[in-house]
């Protein structure tokens, strides 16, 4: 079943088209990678889907409903979560609190419940806490234990990336947008991340992945979409796309492509 579909999605910045007539489809349970050189419109695509930018034309359908015109928090509540290429975790909060913030929309308690601190609130908070720890343990002890109550800013770079993924998972999204989850990681951490992305998929999430590291792209994704100058230039299996002359040209330029 198609989970997310974009039809002729277009976004201009000034006169430059950041995303142009982009048609994209992802089925439930898939991992689709988007590759492309810097500035090819990958992150803009994420920003359009998550509601930070309004598209100039075209449509975004999530489970058959249009997302255009919704606020980011409404889109998030429809079941789309994302991470950022430049990390955006809440540094002054603890690791656990970061995930609890991610659960915010699912919890029921309102201002007056909190004021009165009812039994219901307490039970809900306890359950939320347990679940947050469960999500954090996806990464096998790297974020649990004593680290739970450390400020997020004290984590190592790789752990911050992992935390950001946990935070995104906290709201049980149907679709997870990962923007370069392995950026800045060393080779062994990258391989670990690749395995973990697959494990997360096996837990029932659908994932769109922006990634430069071809090892991750090859290893993790079911399908690859290549972008350049905001347009789709290739689509298909990872190897097939990597060998596509247009893709090689986009990365290396015309001359480079001839040499290659």
């Amino acid at each position: 079943m198609v989970l997310l579909e974009t039809i002729n999605l277009t976004k201009y910045f000034g006169g430059i088209s950041a995303v142009k007539k982009f048609n994209f489809k992802i089925n439930e349970g898939e991992i689709v990678s988007i590759i492309g050189p810097n500035g090819s419109g990958k992150t803009t695509f994420f920003n359009l889907v998550s509601g930070l930018y309004k598209p100039d034309s075209g449509d975004i359908l999530f489970e058959g409903e249009s997302l255009v015109g919704l606020r980011p928090d409404q889109i998030s509540n429809k079941g789309i979560a994302r991470t950022y290429q430049t990390l955006r975790i809440f540094g002054n909060m603890t690791v656990l609190e970061n995930v609890l913030v991610g659960m915010h929309p699912r919890l029921q308690s309102n201002f007056f419940h909190s004021l009165l601190h009812t039994l219901k609130v307490r039970r809900e908070e306890k359950e939320a806490r347990e679940e947050a720890i469960k999500i954090l343990s996806y990464f096998k002890g790297r974020l649990t234990g004593p680290r739970l109550n450390h400020p997020a800013s004290s984590l190592s770079y790789a752990n911050r990336r992992r935390l950001e993924i946990c935070r995104a998972l906290a709201n049980h999204p149907k679709l997870l947008l990962l923007d370069e989850p392995a950026a800045g990681m060393n080779p062994s951490e990258t391989i670990e991340m690749m395995e973990q992305i697959k494990e997360i998929r096996d837990k029932g999430y659908t994932i769109i992945l922006i990634e430069h590291d071809m090892k991750v792209v090859m290893g993790a994704s079911d399908r690859v979409v290549a972008m350049d100058h905001g347009e789709k230039i290739a689509e298909g299996g990872a190897l097939e796309v990597a060998r596509n002359p247009l893709v090689i040209e986009a990365y290396l330029g015309k001359k480079g492509a001839q040499i290659a």
Binding site: G91, S114, E125
Partner: protein
Amino acid sequence: MGFETFVGLTLSGLTVGMIYALVALGYTMVYGVLKLINFAHGEIFTVGGYLGATFLIWIGIEDGIPLPLKILYVILAFLFSMILTATLGWSVERFAYRPLRKMTRIAPLLSAIGVSIFLQNLILLVFGVDPIIMPVAAIPEGYIPVFGANFRYLAVIIIVFSLILMGGLTLFIKKTRLGKAMRATSQDREAAEMMGINTNMTISLTFIIGSALAAIAGILVAMYYGTLKFDTGFLYGIKAFTAAVLGGIGNIPGAVIGALVLGLAENYGVGLKLGILAYFFILGLIVGLAYQFYFLPREARKKALFNLADRFSYDEGSLSKVKILNYCYYGGWISGFYFLFKERRDSLVRIHARQAIRVGFANTFLFLVTLIFFLNSNYKISSEWQNGITFLVLMLVLIFKPAGILGEHIPEKV
């Protein structure tokens, strides 16, 4: 000065400080989520006080009625004022700030000043120029003797009530789901939206809580001083803002500490009729201690504050710092220069010496100010100087610690 005077000044300093704190929380919370200085907050405070007093006048509270009923009336007045003032705070944000949120940062600031003037005029229009008088029956009477000083019941109520409110607010922000949403919004609004947090609602909630606290402060001030004028809020607003900056703007415990420091400084400054040396010594000590605190490594600060002996048990480097500070205490200028020439080979020490001269400057300045007071008013500082002292404290703190006592709450985007 007798000990009673000192106790009395401390208590009234704490009382006034608590009221500043209630107002300062509103400034600091709004700054936290919007990076906006809400200049209309002082007027929101006045409106709160006026509404409370009006309610009590309207309901006809008088000496004849039994105490439980009186208490009920006062509680109703608080609730009435809090609800209306919170609505006002919400609408100010909704109609004067939100439409300008995506403009330059100066636009909402100007809008805030506009709202401030607008509200002041509105109060004039509705209530007139004459101050509103809080019905005497609504004000708790009586005194508690504390070490010979008389402490008003009302002051006790103000301090306890404020402490409960601040504790509650801290718990709310630390523990609850909405508090976490507020913190997330203040750190990174866009990321918070991605988490499904309705940030507009969170910002509204901030204004609602801040305004309700200001309303409480307004009524308490009206009770404490008996009256409230249309422009009372201006000065309270400015001072509470000072307190927020003093403690580190955006930092909630900072606002409370800043407000208490301010309230105490104001009262000591005005009330103490000390000999010139004693005055010089106390202020010098405050500056010196604050500075020493600033110098020590973070983990040593707490120790140093509570244990004098610990201050002298550090390595060479810190010891020399302690030495400088001792010079500063007693010598001002001279010691700073002395130090500079004595040990100028060591560049690190020279940096410290430069700091020492700064302390020296400050101490000399204080000395001169004190001298002027001494010559002019025969040991006494008249109450006209109160606001001057407030801002002197602010300047001094900010010279040495630009981010405020507890540091500015700078959201870490990591």
